[in-house]
Symmetry: D2
Subunit: 461 residues, 4 copies
C-alpha cells in the first residue's frame, strides 16, 4: 500500500504536500518523497523513513514552486531500496516528468521485457517506471495523451499523480480499486488518497476522482478526461476493514462508521458468551465498539498498545515468550483476569500473531477468550496493491474455522460472513473487489505466453 498526493496552484505547494503525507503516513512508512515544479524544472527529494525524518524546513525550502506531488511507500519484502522510493523523476524528450503511484500493475513485467528488448534501459525494479517508458515511446505530442495511451496498455490498480511543468495530472484505473479524492484550499487543488489529508490542510472535500478518469489541473482549472473503456467497479473493501484511517471518508463512506457497522453485524452473526469486549488495538477498535454496543456488553481496553515502538527490536537470546506481540501490546490483568473475553480483530492473516495475543490474554488470567473477526476468512493474496503474503501463508487458505480456532487456542472463533460484510458496507457483491476473501479476480491476468505485439505496432515503430 502507498499514499499519494498532488497540489496545484499554491505558493507553498511543497509544504502542503508534506503535511498531506503526514496525514497519509499510515499508508506507508518505508519511504517518503516530494517533487515540485516551478513551471520550468522539477525538483525532487525522497528518502527512506517517516515523513518527519525525510523532510526538514531546509529541504522544503529547496522545493519551490506552486505544484507538487508526494508519495509514502509501504515496506514490502523484496525491494525496499532507496532507488525505488517514489515519486520517480525522469527526463524524456518532452521534458521532465515525475510520477507517484498507489496500486499494482498486473502486466508490468511482460511489457517491461518487451521494452527492454527494444533498447529501453530501466533504472528501477518498480512497475511505475514502465508507465513512463511506454509514454516516452508513444508518438503523440502531448504528455497527457502519451500517459493515457500508455495506461491503456496496462492492467491492474492505479491511483496515480504526475507532475510536469505547468500541470498536475491524476488518474484512477477503470475499476477504481484504490481511493483518490479532490479537495480545494485557498484556491488551490489538492488530490489525495484519503480525505484526512484535506482535514489537516483545512481543505474542503470536492469529489472523488472517478473510476477511469484522468484529471488535469492547470492555470485554466480542473479538466476531466475519460480515455479508457468502461469496466465494472471494484473498490477494495479492505480499505474500509483495515487500511484507511478511521477519520477518513473513503469511497463516499465514513470509515469509522463502516467499521462500527461491521462490529454490530458481527454480533448479529457471531454473538459471544462474554462479560467484556476488548479490541486488538488499534485496528480492531471501532469494530469492538460496534460489537459491544450491539451486545450491550462493557467495552474495555484489555490490551494496551505501546506507541513508541520502532522498526526493529532486539530480544535476549534466552527468548521471552510471545515477545514480538508483547513489545507492541500489554495485557491489563485487572480487566482480563477471571473474565470471559470477546476479543475483536479486523482480520486474521497468518494466525501466528492472533495465537500469541490469545495466549497473552490467558496469561493475564482470562477465563475464556472468544475471538471475533470483522471480515470473512482471508484466503487470497492481493494483486492490486495490498501487501498480503502469498496464499500458502494465509491460515484460512488451507484450514477451516475449527482448525484455526484450535491453532489460536481460543474458546470460540467467529468470522463475519461475506453477505454480512457487504450489508454493513452497503454494497452489492459485484460492485466491490473481494478477491482476498473470494479469490475472484476482477482483472483477468494476461497469459504469460502471449507476446503483446500490438503494443509496439502502435508505440515504437
Amino acid at each position: 500500500m502507498c499514499g499519494v498526493v498532488g497540489i496545484f496552484g499554491h505558493p507553498e505547494a511543497s509544504t502542503l504536500a508534506y503535511l498531506s503525507l503526514y496525514a497519509l503516513q499510515h499508508r506507508g512508512q518505508e519511504s517518503a518523497g516530494i517533487v515540485t515544479t516551478d513551471g520550468d524544472t522539477l525538483i525532487r527529494h525522497a528518502g527512506m523513513g517517516l515523513v518527519a525524518d525525510v523532510f526538514s524546513r531546509d529541504v522544503l525550502s529547496a522545493l519551490p514552486g506552486n505544484a507538487a506531488i508526494g508519495h509514502v511507500r509501504y515496506s514490502t519484502a523484496g525491494d525496499s531500496h532507496r532507488s525505488n522510493a517514489q515519486p520517480f523523476l525522469l527526463r524524456h524528450h518532452r521534458g521532465p516528468i515525475a510520477i507517484a503511484h498507489n496500486g499494482n500493475l498486473v502486466n508490468a513485467a511482460l511489457i517491461r521485457e518487451e521494452l527492454e528488448a527494444g533498447g529501453s534501459i530501466f533504472q528501477t525494479t518498480s512497475d511505475t517506471e514502465v508507465v513512463l517508458h511506454l509514454a516516452a515511446r508513444t508518438p503523440v505530442a502531448d504528455i497527457v495523451d502519451a500517459l493515457a495511451e500508455s495506461l491503456r496498455h496496462l492492467r491492474g490498480a492505479y491511483s496515480l499523480v504526475a507532475v510536469v511543468p505547468g500541470r498536475l495530472i491524476a488518474a484512477r484505473d477503470p475499476l477504481g480499486f484504490r481511493p483518490l479524492s479532490v479537495g480545494r484550499v485557498d484556491g488551490a487543488w489538492v488530490i489525495a488518497s484519503e480525505s484526512c489529508a484535506f482535514d489537516l490542510l483545512g481543505a474542503e472535500y470536492v469529489r472523488d476522482v472517478e473510476r477511469g478518469e484522468v484529471v488535469v489541473a492547470d492555470v485554466g482549472g480542473l479538466h476531466s478526461f475519460k480515455p479508457f473503456e468502461d469496466d465494472r467497479p471494484a473498490p477494495c473493501l479492505f480499505e474500509h476493514v483495515y487500511f484507511a484511517r478511521p477519520d477518513s471518508r473513503v469511497f463516499g463512506e465514513s470509515v469509522q462508521a463502516v467499521r462500527k457497522r461491521l462490529g454490530a453485524q458481527l454480533w448479529e452473526e457471531q454473538p459471544a458468551d462474554a462479560e467484556v469486549v476488548t479490541p486488538v488495538p488499534d485496528s480492531g477498535m471501532y469494530a469492538a465498539m460496534g460489537y459491544a454496543h450491539a451486545a450491550g456488553l462493557p467495552f474495555e481496553m484489555g490490551l494496551v498498545r505501546n506507541h513508541y515502538i520502532g522498526r526493529t527490536f532486539i530480544e535476549p537470546s534466552q527468548q521471552i515468550r510471545n515477545f514480538g506481540v508483547r513489545i507492541k501490546l500489554n495485557p491489563v490483568r485487572e480487566i482480563l483476569a477471571g473474565r470471559r473475553v470477546a476479543l475483536i480483530d479486523d482480520s486474521i492473516v497468518r494466525g501466528t500473531t492472533s495465537r500469541k495475543i490469545v495466549q497473552l490474554c490467558r496469561d493475564a488470567g482470562a477465563k475464556e477468550v472468544h475471538v471475533r473477526v470483522s471480515s470473512p476468512p482471508t484466503r487470497g493474496s492481493c494483486r492490486y496493491g495490498i501487501d498480503t503474503p502469498v496464499a500458502e501463508e494465509l491460515v484460512a487458505a488451507r484450514h477451516g474455522v475449527e482448525e484455526i480456532r484450535s491453532f489460536l487456542g481460543a474458546d470460540s472463533l467467529g468470522y463475519l460472513s461475506m453477505e454480512g460484510m457487504l450489508r454493513a458496507a452497503q454494497k452489492e457483491g459485484d460492485d466491490v473487489c473481494s478477491a482476498c476473501w473470494s479469490n475472484e479476480q476482477p482483472v483477468k491476468l494476461p497469459r504469460a505466453d502471449t507476446r503483446q505485439l500490438g503494443l509496439f505496432d502502435k508505440t515504437v515503430r
Copy 2:
C-alpha cells in the same frame, strides 16, 4: 519526568535494560542511555532520541556484563544537551560509578556552589552530578555508605539506580514521590520505575522499593537499608492522573482502574447534559470510559490521534487554523456533528491546547461542548520532577473556573474536586503530594541565605 531501570544477575543485562526502557519510553523521549558492568569496568552508551534510535544490536553487543542501569529522559526547555543524557558515568577514587535518576533535588544548586568553591569541577548542569561529587568527598570507604551519606544532605524527589562493578544500588527518597519497584526474572533482579517493564520482560513483580529505602543487589542477594530519617509519605498523584502507563501498577494500584474511578467520580460531581462522551486522546481515554459508564452515555472516539507525528512540523506561512492541535488530532464529523458532547481530559495546563480542541469540535459541527477534567485545577509548578511550566503560565493559577470556561469557549466546564480525587485514588490528603493543585510543598525549601556549613565539616575538611 524520567524513567529508570536496573538489572542485576542476568547474562544479557544490557538487552533487558534496553527492553525495559522501551516499556518506559512514555516517561521520556529526549534521550536514552545504558551503562553495564562486567564486574571490572563500566561501559556506557547514550544518545539523543528514542530508545529505538539510540540502540542497535551492535551497540548492545558492545555493552557486556550481567548488571546494567538505564534511563530515559524527558524533554525540558533549558538543558537538552547531549552531555546531560543519563546515566552519568564517572570515575572517582573508589573506582567507576554510574547513576541514573528520576526526580528533582531541591537544594542541589546550593550544594554545588559549595563544592565548586572547594575545588570540585562539574561536567554537566544536572543535579544528579551533585550526588556523585558529594559521595566522592565523603570520607567513608564503601560506596554505598558514601552514597547514603551524600543523599542525607540532599532534599527533594529521587528514585535512582546506580551501578558499580559487582553491585546494583537503588534508592527512593524518604517521602517517596516517584515510583520504583522490584521484579525478578530468571533469577535476576529488575528494578524499574513502572511495572509495565516487568510485563515486557516476563518478570514477576516482587514489591515496591519503600520510601527512604536503599536496596543493593549483589551475588549475595538483595539487601535493604534504611539510612534516612523517616518522613511523611508524598506519592505524586499526577502519576495516576496522567503520567504513568495505564497498564502499569503504580504505588500499589492499577493505573487504568484509578483513571476510570476518577472518571466515574467526575460524573458524580460534574454531570454534563450530553449525548455522547468523547476523550481527548490518549490521556483522557480511561477517565472518559469511566465517565460514560457512570453516566450511561455512549463512549465514542470523536477525536482521532495521528500516531506518526514526529517532534517538529513545518507549517505553511499562510497559517492553518489550530494547526498545532490538528496535526495530532482529527475530529470525526460523523460523531460530533449536531450533538451535545462531553469532552473529557485529565488536566488543563495553559489552556491554549484545550481551547483549540474545543474549537475543532465546534468546527466539526458539535452543538454543545462540555469540558470535564478528571483532576482539580492545576495551580502550582512541580518541584519534584514533573516538567510543568512556571505558575504564571498555568491558567488556573490566575483565573477562576468561569473565566477558564469562557477562554476555552466551552458551554460548560467542570473539574474534579480535591476530595473527589483523593476518594477515587483511595488516599488521605496528607498521604500524597498534591502540590500542583494545592501549592502545599511536602519538602520545605532551604533558605537561599543559609550556608550548609555542616556539610563540609564532615566531608571535605
Copy 3:
C-alpha cells in the same frame, strides 16, 4: 581527467581495484567507484570523495567476485553530482553491464538527442551513458560486438573499461589520446590508466592497449580486436608535462625522465641569469631539477607545500593577501631573500596563481624572479578530457609573452618552444595531440546541423 582500472581473474578483484584507484588518485579526487562481478550479477559501490573515504573493509567485502572495474573522477565545474559518479551500472536486455571512462566524446550530445527522440530515457548527464544506450539499441547478440558498434558512432577520446558477468572489456580510441596499459599479477589481468598502479599491486607491466584496440579478458585469456578504422596517433602531451604521476611510464616513456629533459631543453632555449633554481611544487619539481642540472645552478625548495590542505578554506573577511596560494605554498625566506631566482613551472593557465606566487617570492625578499615554463603557451581548451578552462580564460590565448610577463610581475618569462617540447618528448609533430598549444584538433567536430541519420538506420529501426 579521470583514472580507470580493470581486474580479471583474481579472487580479491575488488581489493586490487581499490588499491589501483589509490595509485591513480592524482587523476581524480571528486568521486570513486568500483563494480565487481561474481560471474552472475554486478555489484556497485561509488561515492563522492577520495578512495580512502569512499571504501572501507566492509564495503570491499560486500563487493565479491573475481572481476572488477574502478574509476576516479576529477572535479569539473558543472556536474559534480553523485549520480555522475562512475562506473555506471545498468541492466539492459543482454543483462547487467558496467562501464568506466577516461576521456571525452565529442559528438555525445547530438547522439543523445536522437536517442531521446526515439524514446530512450537517460539517468545522468554523462556522455558515458550514451555508449550504453547505443549498445542497448544495437541489434547484434553479443555485448562486445554491440559496444564496438556503438563506439564506431562516437568521436573523441576514450580509454574505457567495462565489465559483464564473465568478461572484462577495455577499449582505447583510434587516436589513442589517453594512456591505458595491461599488467599481470598472480595470473590475473590488470588494465590501468598508468603503470604506477601495477607497481603498487606488485604487478608486471605487459604492454599498452593499442590505439583503436578492444581487448577482452575472460577465462580463455586476453583477446584483441581492432574494430575501428585506422587513424593518426594523438597521445596527449599534457600527460607527460603535468598530469601523469612522475613514477609512471606513459606512452612508453618514464614521466620523470621526460620532465627532466623538458627542463634541460628549457635551459637551452631560455637560460636565466639566476643564482638559484626553485620549482613551483609539486608539478614543476622535475623540470626544475633538469633545468638546474643543465645550468649547473643549485636546486632549492624555495616554496614549501602544505600537504594537509582540504578542499575548501575559510578566510577571514578582512582578507589575507594572496591567501589562496599561501595556504598551499609557503616561501622560505632563508632561500629566497636577496637572491636572483629561476622559478620553474610546468604551465601557465589563467596566470592568476602564477602572479601570486611571483608576489610571494618577492615578499620573501627575492631580488629577481625569472619565470620559466616547461611547455609552450597554453592557448586552447581541451576537448579530449582535460579540464582546462574555456579559451577566453587562458591568458596566453589573448596576450603575448611580454604582456604575460608584465601581468605576472616577473623580471623575465620564458616558455619552452613547441619544437623543443617535441624534441624532449622524442616525438614528431603529427604523432601527438598538441591542441591545447596549437589549437589544431586531431578530431574534426561534427557539424551541429548534420543529423546522423545513418546511425538509426542501423541501430534502432
Copy 4:
C-alpha cells in the same frame, strides 16, 4: 606531539586560530579543536580528524569572540578518544577556562591520584586536566596566579595556551622543551608552536616565549611573568631533525637550513661510494640535498611519495610484499636501476620500515644501497611529548650499527655522530635535550613512593 595556537584581540579570532591549525597540521592529525571567548562565556568545538574535516564555515561562525585557542593532536596508541580532544573546557568556581597543551607532564599520574583521593572527579585520561584541577583547588583569587601555582607542582614539558573571558595565557616550561612563539597581525597577538602559522596569517614574528615564562594578553597589552625557578635549557633537537615544518623557524633557527647542515655534516662523517643521492621523502629531503651538495653528487627523487593516502589501507589477504611502504612510496626504476644509491633518512626507529625501503630500492634494480641517517642512533623513548615507542622497540637500543645494517639489508650504514649533530645545530651538549639519543633525562623523575604532601598542605586543606 601536538600543535597549539592562541589569538587575542582580533574580531575573527576563531578563523585565525583555524588557519593557524591548518599550518600546524603536521604536528597532529588525530583531532582538532578551538575554544573562543566573547569576553563572557567560552565556546568549544572539537572533533576527530583533520582541521579541514572538523571545521566548516558554519562551525566557525558559531565560535564568536576576539580571543581563541586551538589545538591539533597527534595519534597515539592508547587514548585516541574523542573526550581527550583538546582544548579542554571546564567551569570552576572562578568561571570557565579552556586549555591546550603540547608536551608531557612527568608527574601527572601521581598528582592525579592525590587529587582523586581528595574527592576530585576527572573527566579524561589526559594529563592536561591535572593542571586545571590543581588550579581549581589553589586558594588564590586570580586564575593566572592559580595556574602558575599549579604549574609549579608539575614537572616535564609544556608549551600551553589557555583562555578565560578577557585574557589569553601562554606558558612554556622552565627547560623549554617545545617551541612557542609570539607574532602580531592587525594589532592582534598570535601565539603558536611554529612560525609557519604566522606566515599563513601574514603575521609578523615578534619573539619566542621564553623558557619558564608566562605571558598574558589582555586589553592592556602583553604581560610577562617568570614565576618558576630557573633551570637549564633543553630544547628538543628532534624538532629540527624531523618534527617541525622545513619552512618554520624553531628555537631561533631555520629548520630547512639546519637540516641541510645536518646532511652536509653527515657527508663529512659518513661519505658513501654512490652515484646518486636520494631521500626517503618527505622527511629526508633537506638532509639529502645537503648531503648531495657537499658530496658533489646528483640529487634525485628515486622514491616518489603518494600524497593521497588516508589513515588505513585494505590489503588483499594474499599479501603484497612490503605493502605498507609501497602504498606510500614508489621507487623509480629509471633512477635506481643499476646504480649505487645513497639513501638519506632523518632517523631509524624500529628499523622495519627502513628495511622495506631498502628492499624496494633493490627490487627496482639498485646495485648498492648505502643508508645514511642525519641523526645519531635513537636509543631512548621520549618522556617530553614525542610519540616514540618504548625503548625495547627501538632497534638501536638493542643492536649495534653493523647488526642494524645487516637487518636493513643495506650495503653500508652510517649515522651522524652526536658531536656532528650538535655542531650542525650550533648547540652545546648541555644546552639541548638529547634524551632520545643519549638517554640522559633533563628532568629527574619523581620517585613513585614519594607522596608529595606539600602539595595538599597548600592547596586542599
